[in-house]
Subunit: 321 residues, 2 copies
Amino acid sequence: MFGSLPTRLYINDVVTRDGFQNERSFIPTDEKISLINDLSRSGLAKIEVTSFTSPKAIPALADAETVMKGIDREPGVIYTALVPNIRGAERALSCNIDEINLVMSMSETHNLSNLRMPRENSFAQLAEVIRMADLHHLPVNVSLSTVFGCPMEGQVEPAEVYRWIERFSALPVRGVTLCDTTGMANPAQVFQISETVRRQFPHLEVTLHFHNTRGMALANAIAAVQAGVISFDASLGGLGGCPYAPGATGNVCTEDLVHMFHAIGCETGVDLARLLAATARLPEIVNHDVPSHLLKAGPADRRYAEPTFVAELRARNWDTA
Amino acid sequence: MFGSLPTRLYINDVVTRDGFQNERSFIPTDEKISLINDLSRSGLAKIEVTSFTSPKAIPALADAETVMKGIDREPGVIYTALVPNIRGAERALSCNIDEINLVMSMSETHNLSNLRMPRENSFAQLAEVIRMADLHHLPVNVSLSTVFGCPMEGQVEPAEVYRWIERFSALPVRGVTLCDTTGMANPAQVFQISETVRRQFPHLEVTLHFHNTRGMALANAIAAVQAGVISFDASLGGLGGCPYAPGATGNVCTEDLVHMFHAIGCETGVDLARLLAATARLPEIVNHDVPSHLLKAGPADRRYAEPTFVAELRARNWDTA
């Protein structure tokens, strides 16, 4: 069975954080602000604007405060940002942010590689941020990396993922994002894990975050929708590479995802034409091609003129005997 | 529900026909033969070797007989070729082919554009080929173009598709291929149409043929599998462009499709490592990059070494209090 699908899906665009963080050259602050303003007006549910990380660690996003304070806040859009620690949460609060997004990995090796500490220490640090955010009535989402596999350890036990979600769900957390950080997930696995997380943690918002590294991002998204998931991360133009697969495709492309969701009859609130107008500006902003299918091909309802000889063929007196 | 999936799927590689037909420069005959021999040994169920079309119409495949007679025929592999008319069928028969593949379009405008005659005339011509093939006990498959939409007419009525399949099913035909010729299909539509065709024509083999023009090829393949389809066309490296979307991705990539099918627990009989070795030779053969995800990223079970600092971090005496 294809299943009965949710009628309304919610898209969180992460291009100005996850995408720009992976760019070689610094994207000028006014370019970031202008792009976020375009995204705000396209009907997206949420925008991950930036990251309140140390400017030394991620110079690409050293302008976090200027960007957050410079953008036009569209009513109804949730503006969120990545926050690694208490200091980052304070910076985010100073910008009157709507939500913060924390991150830790489900694989010990990936957590050590990426966050340079064991998962247990990450959890302790994030728990502290969550309690501090709660005092300020600031909603928190936790992004869990390598849920569907780790490029160093390989398989990640689903039971291990559920155990960490259990621990976070005991804290004042709004939702969790299940991240396929390096594009290892497959649709059967996505359905199984998404369905279990939704069933076991009905009070948590569950978001899925896919990379198209092995071409399966849209197939995985459909599997998640079939499991009842209604929230998705995506990146305009598909920006945001995977350091473990140089040259490979990055995050699932927002416009490709929105286009597919509309095609299967799910609303997203996004104006695809507006979104594509923003995508069309991307190659100039980042100074390279972007892996967007829609930007090249246009939507499926794009029409082409018939060749001129067809009219003549139609008029001919055909004999089919 | 994700649904219970078939355990065995069958892949028909079309790169040397659909792929090479779309290449600007002529692929030398010995390169074609060598690649087909590699594909034969990779465990594919079927290979669409070439097209017995007029060499004037498709110079890229002018060496059809030489290729068909030059390849090693692996037992168990079905060798097929595209045949437009009686003359083509005679040429195919002279090469002792296992099956022939005929083609017509579900959209009148696309049929006029592509085959330069009305669908009714195409049907009459193909019916003649089918009767001739039957006399020689040669199995016939019919590929139906633009089943999921026409780039000129737009929507194609499913009832119209079923009507043409009904007419073909009254003839001695082994199977039909439902082709998403220009990448307009979406997973909900694919599930619906595949499920109906399988139910209404249980004696026909049903194959699905996807293009990744808008990134949905693998999502569409999963939807078809969920509808019980077990046979798929695919093209090594994803070669085979779409004339209506210049620069866009071509056919669904064989190695990406096989990789996903294995990941969700469906067998294909294909040795992915052997297939990827063949893909790795493609860029040199066609003299340009190919849109294969697997070639860039490797399979999901590819492992990376952890950074050297991780061992030191592990050994540290961490305090989580």
